[in-house]
Symmetry: C2
Subunit: 422 residues, 2 copies
């Protein structure tokens, strides 16, 4: 019998324990051995929980128990779980974690300690969607050309409501908080950091890139306004928060930000709290993986898949860990300023002669050519809103141009820039 200890018995932990019990015969048959949760560790031992396993508030009751084979880490946070997972691995226990923040910072440190001890982390990216499995096994014939993921359900829920029902950002944020989709401090979700953590994990699998969140371009959805939604609708775009990895020769672009994306793209059709990851492989072309990105039972499905894989295949499984047997070349992170994209700009300007000309001139000076230009009357009749979509250019040029345009007397507010993903 394989013995499992769960550290952190919240929503997901309770689901893991209960599903391992409910589907015991099935899971045992698939793993080839019986699997039992023998202990749970919680911070508040007095809180009532919906599980029948023995609970403790001392993490060493699991870490120092030689009979426990697999530690499931579901605490959240970075520093404390980092210490705990290090100790579990040092004690020879396999680890399964759903903790994307931990892995965004310490995946290679942990792999170094783990050596041949399996680390499972299917649940850390896109909840119940078996995307790690697809990347590592299902698409193993492919050089991965690009990954584009909707991996934060809160943002996707908010953007969907803004697009479909015309709700304003502030109002839908409040609603998402009331529904429990967004935290009291929503920065982690709406600022793009949660999606970035997941992107870094996928980028490690596809490209062996050892980047940290602060190394990559991360922008949130906080500045999306009604004018942007109207522009998107008019030109058949959706607005989505995408996490993007792209291989350009030997450089890897990694970025998280809102995009305007054509409605006929499959990933643009993923609405509400659901997640989806589109993967482009050099042989297969585009495949896309869709499902629930959060929730106790859905996340537990991925945690348990890893437990089964560890029992069945152990260290020989290609699904586990962050070793890098997958590259045939050394890939490096592309500097943010070299990233190329098309851009959409929204500018609030004085409704006066010459303004448009001076803006167009600045764009031209930075070698940025315009694809679409729209001027809308503003509420204030002395102001005008200019909406502009550019052809492809490097990030550094658009940033320089935006800075220069913003310095014009006739430009009245910070320019909103949204990248266009084609």
């Amino acid at each position: 019998m394989i013995k499992v200890g769960i550290i952190g018995v919240g929503t997901v932990g309770q689901s893991v324990a209960n599903i391992l019990e409910k589907n015991k015969a099935l899971i045992g048959a698939r793993a080839g051995k019986e699997i039992s949760v023998v202990k749970g560790v919680v911070s508040n031992i007095n809180k009532k929980r919906d599980v029948s396993i023995p609970l403790s508030d001392n993490v060493d009751d699991i870490l120092d128990d030689d009979s426990i084979d697999i530690v499931v880490e579901l605490m959240g946070g970075v520093d404390e779980p980092y210490k705990i997972v290090q100790k579990a691995l040092s004690n020879g226990k396999a680890v399964v974690t759903a903790n994307k923040a931990l892995l965004a910072y310490h995946r290679y440190d942990l792999q170094k300690i783990a050596q041949d001890i399996p680390i499972g982390y299917e649940a850390s990216v896109a909840g119940g969607i078996p995307i790690i499995n697809a990347l590592k096994v299902g698409l193993s014939a492919n050089q991965i050309t690009a990954i584009k993921g909707i991996m934060n359900g809160t943002c996707n829920y908010m953007l969907t409501k803004m697009m479909q029902e015309g709700v304003r950002y502030e109002d839908i944020l409040q609603e998402a908080q009331d529904l429990g989709y967004a935290e009291a401090d929503p920065t982690f979700d709406v600022g793009g950091f949660d999606a970035a953590h997941k992107l870094l994990i996928l980028a490690s699998i596809a490209y062996g890139i050892d980047a940290k969140p602060e190394d990559i371009l991360i922008e949130g959805i906080e500045n999306i306004g009604q004018d942007d939604i109207a522009f998107a609708k008019e030109f058949n775009y959706s607005i989505k928060l995408l996490a993007i990895a792209k291989k350009i020769n030997t450089k890897i672009e990694l970025r998280v930000h809102p995009v305007l994306i054509r409605n006929d793209q499959m990933i643009a059709k993923i609405d509400g709290v659901m997640n989806g990851v589109s993967v482009i492989g050099d042989c297969v072309g585009e495949t896309l993986y869709y499902g629930p990105g959060a929730g106790g039972d859905a996340t537990a499905s991925a945690v348990i898949a890893d437990i089964i894989e560890i029992v069945r295949a152990g260290q020989s499984s290609p699904m586990l860990g962050f070793k890098r047997p997958f590259q045939s070349e050394n890939l490096i992170l592309m500097p943010k300023e070299e990233i190329e994209s098309e851009y959409y700009l929204r500018m609030l300007v004085d409704d006066a002669p010459g303004v448009l000309a001076s803006i167009a001139q600045i764009l031209g000076k930075h070698n940025i050519s315009i694809e679409t230009f729209l001027q809308r009357p503003s509420d204030n009749n002395k102001k005008a809103t200019l909406l502009c979509a550019t052809h492809e250019c490097q990030e550094k040029y658009i940033i320089a141009a935006i800075k220069e345009i913003e310095s014009l007397q006739s430009v009245n507010a910070k320019i909103v820039m949204i990248r266009i993903e084609s």
Copy 2:
């Protein structure tokens, strides 16, 4: 070095050989060993092919070559590949096949011969989408509740064009044939048989069901007309050819037929030649897998993933073969007449008093209650088209009711019935 022989070097076979060459370093790193295609067997040795491997027209050049480890079978057909795969397995060679027809009939026979020799068949279902991998590994914590697949690109292309552009069935069939999407005899695709073969393979994985195509409900898209498309549009449905497996207690429903399905369902959004498979698991809920269902390179991606898995994990891989370690209960095929669905009926009737009453009475007699009823004027002013959607009932009752309605003097043509998938 692992040596591979390919039997059938057509579009897919050429892609397999060429990708194994192009991505050699990457694939070797992932498999842990170098993989080389050393021989190909073709029926017409004089035909020019885009590969650099030695070709032969004698299948025994591969089957009797002791140095060859893995045989890739890409011939198509049933009887001849069945003999060849049997011999390959008997000679101790692992087999990778994309041949759904072979597996629809002989998967358990082949597994019996194979014993512990791996058989890979990721490519046999939905081309480049790693759906076998998802079912066997990614979703291993789940009891599979249902599978709903768009697994025939020809049908999906035709139905998409009929919905989006109002093209008639006959015209779009001609176009699909001109584009090479449909064969001169399109029955295998449009009749639902190709999708049924794939469904039987998925049902073996999810449920261990040993059914053959003739055991299950298979209907094609040949009778879908303009009125049905108009009804679908009016009530926010799409029309799709779905292959459906559902677990109802210990019985498994297996069926392939066109459905009316709500536009907001993710699988309804899969358009054109693309494939998609929605899987409902008891823990994870719905996950969906989307991608190219055909094409040389896409199918080769799946073939090579199996080759890598065989090299890496061999007989210990859960991804390979049709052993049945996955059930905790014995499941049986549900008889067709017990399947429950909602139904849509299209009837051409005399535009005369009493006709509607007699139809409604027959439906009532069979305990079928009506959900929506529409009467449209017909081109012929003595005729009327009646469109009707029912609440859920068993297949046997709707069939009996249809038969009785068709026997009415006032009913002028065969009734078209489409199941509604909710």
